[in-house]
Amino acid sequence: MDAFSFLRRRTFLKLGIAGLAGLGAAGGALWSMRGQAPAVAGLKVLDGHRFATMKAIAEAQLPLESAAVTSDHLARMFDGFLQGEHDENVADLATALLLVEFGPLIFEGRFVTFSHLALEDRRRHWRGWMESELALRRQVALAFRKFLHVVFFDDPKVWPAIGYPGPSLWGMPAEEPTP
């Protein structure tokens, strides 16, 4: 049995934040590790830092190097998705993004943030979330994986690579409307 399985998601996220705050107080340099928040036009919910983290997760999760779908598009879809979500979920997911960004520090003791890891290193670290002994790390990985896989594989540009001819009726719109 996972030693942390008694923790609920929100409790974990709160503890994570408390831990981050403690580390921040002790370390001082923690927040500067993220660097300047990139300015991203047109965001509805996410700030620049979290948008960058979401892009980094998309690049780790999916083989975007060889796909016609970009991490920028996927992160914007996530931003649009959040616009329709309840405040409670938005807060949880925003916190989860923060935890992922500082995952290398929290779980591996490395002074580097997730979005600054090289792609292969980031994938190795992200697999650590997927396969973690800590249930709540798995929960975070699962939540983002589900979202990304649904959006990515719902994109007609991806279908030829998986042998899916698309829906069988009518001429469906070439792309889903951006939320």
Partner: protein, 509 residues
């Protein structure tokens, strides 16, 4: 009598107070059935539906938009530990719009079990018989024709036959099916004989009114002659509340699903010590098999064949054992179940046309609860008992054996660390699956309980006629009432019991 109407309130969120004889909350199998019966009897009926009215080309056969629009919480409803996806419809017509169109009637065995174990003396085979018959008539229930059993389902059947496992082609409620394969995100040609196609048009003809994008959030004055129900109007996508109004009703019927009717009771501060308890989720575990041949699983009826070898009835616990049922989904939802990363993702999905998949379905003990978050949203907790896990393993092994016998080169239980079986020697790998939280592709499509009915207030939250104890004419007519699993697929039982309860309500006057 003038015909009723469907109104989408999102375009006109400023509504005044309404008064009505019967207010029904939810438009699925229970709500639509009750609306039709009561409207036909001359009662003034108003139905609230949180979702929109999506039919025809509004059902785009695309994952992203359809899960967003047709499912509760935009397809994201989960148990609180994120271990199990809780799939429920949120659309005019309810979950039957997005189910796999399987018809498994409420059995004599279940009814006798409810009588013997739970003291539900009103639920005799004789009392329910005309309503079970009506349910099957509404569903136009027929066996799936042989020519509509697609290759993915045939592979499961061939494998089962080779290893001597019993199974069956299921009954379904399709008429004029063209094999589009997207049943789980709605049927754009209206082949599914669900409430949106059958009971709702009947109810409209009898004068019932349906309000879409209308969420009931609280019932007040539950012991008074006139109840007061607070309703929030949602925006066109159903994301946010944009208005509100009050409905005064003499009779309130909750038919919003096991989870949502229970949530409404809890939000209203109603219900006794049983409210929110005894929730059954009937867990289902996904299994994937890969073949060398083209299976083209995304065309044709996704769920036509079930291996019933492991299904049985337990005198103490009711419906028991497990079933293995073929299934398939659109690419997004299948990919979301596969724990892959980077290039592995495309590697796994490149085999999509050669996949077959199944769900192991386990009728469970009611070991879950419905509660509220601080914000008043649904919180579902579920104790995944050892006997559930054991039956999931047995079912997964049986599915693997069937697929291997049918020629699969590998069968995967898509755990967070995938468990891959390539021969019978590997089946012990499945025995070793611990089912820790958030490691398996578990889902629930048949939630039952939460407002269990019982012969006395000491044993349940509702009486046998659906009356919520402690209220006057506030009823529950949906699967929240069930004290144990009613069936492996709940639409036929819900139609039958809602018809039965409607008749009793009318007899009361």
């Amino acid at each position: 009598m003038s015909a009723g109407a469907i109104h989408d309130l999102s375009s006109d969120p400023r509504q005044g107070e309404r008064s009505v004889d019967v207010l029904i909350i939810g438009s699925g199998c229970a709500g639509a059935t009750a609306a039709r019966a009561l409207a036909r009897a001359g009662r003034e009926v108003l139905v609230l539906e949180e979702g929109g009215d999506l039919t025809g080309q509004k059902l785009t056969q695309r994952d992203g938009r359809m899960y967003d629009q047709l499912y509760q919480d935009r397809g994201g409803r989960m148990t609180s530990d994120l271990t199990m996806a809780v799939l429920q419809g949120r659309v005019l017509g309810g979950s039957a719009v997005i189910n796999a169109s399987d018809v498994v009637p409420l059995s004599d065995e279940v009814l006798r079990f409810w009588q013997r174990k739970h003291g539900l003396t009103d639920y005799s085979v004789e009392h329910l018989e005309p309503h079970r018959h009506q349910a099957l008539a509404d569903l136009r229930a027929t066996p799936i024709p042989e020519e509509q059993v697609n290759r993915a389902n045939r592979l499961l059947r061939e494998g089962a036959a080779k290893i001597g496992a019993k199974g069956e082609v299921m009954l379904n409620n399709r008429v004029g099916c063209q094999g589009l394969g997207t049943c789980l995100i709605g049927c754009p040609i209206g082949a599914k004989q669900n409430p949106r196609v059958v009971a709702i048009p009947d109810a409209l003809a009898a004068g019932a009114t349906f309000l879409c994008r209308a969420r009931a959030v609280r019932i007040d004055d539950a012991s008074a002659e006139l109840k007061r129900v607070s309703v929030r109007v949602l925006d066109a996508n159903g994301y946010h509340e944009v208005g509100g109004f009050t409905v005064r009703a003499r009779v309130v019927i909750m038919a919003a699903s096991a989870v949502n009717s229970t949530q409404l009771v809890l939000r209203s501060g109603l219900g006794n010590q049983h409210a929110g308890k005894h929730l059954s989720l009937q867990p289902q575990l996904g299994i994937v098999a890969r073949f060398r041949e083209q299976v083209t699983p995304f065309r044709g009826i996704p769920q036509a064949y079930a291996v019933t070898e492991g299904e049985r009835f337990d005198d103490e616990r009711g419906l028991w054992g497990f079933r293995v049922e073929a299934i398939m989904g659109t690419p997004g939802i299948i990919a979301s179940l596969l724990p892959r990363l980077g290039a592995e993702v495309m590697g796994a999905m490149a085999a999509y046309p050669q996949l077959a998949a199944s769900l192991v379905l386990v009728p469970d003990e009611p070991s879950g609860t419905v509660g509220l978050t601080k914000a008043g949203r649904v919180r579902i907790d579920y104790e995944h008992k050892d006997n559930h896990k054991e039956r999931l393993r047995e079912g997964a092994k049986l599915a693997a054996r069937c697929y291997l016998a049918a020629g699969a080169y590998e069968v995967e239980v898509p755990m967070h660390r995938p468990v891959v079986v390539t021969s019978e020697r590997d089946l012990a790998l499945i025995d070793a699956i611990p089912f820790e939280p958030c490691t398996a592709p578990l889902m629930s499509a048949h939630q039952q309980g939460g407002l269990r009915m019982a012969a006395s207030e000491a044993e349940g939250a509702c009486a046998q006629n659906g009356l919520l104890y402690g209220t006057r004419d506030v009823y529950c007519f949906d699967a929240a009432l069930y004290p144990s699993s009613s069936s492996s697929h709940t639409q036929a039982p819900i139609l039958a019991t809602a018809s039965f309860l409607s008749e009793r309500l009318l007899a009361k006057g």
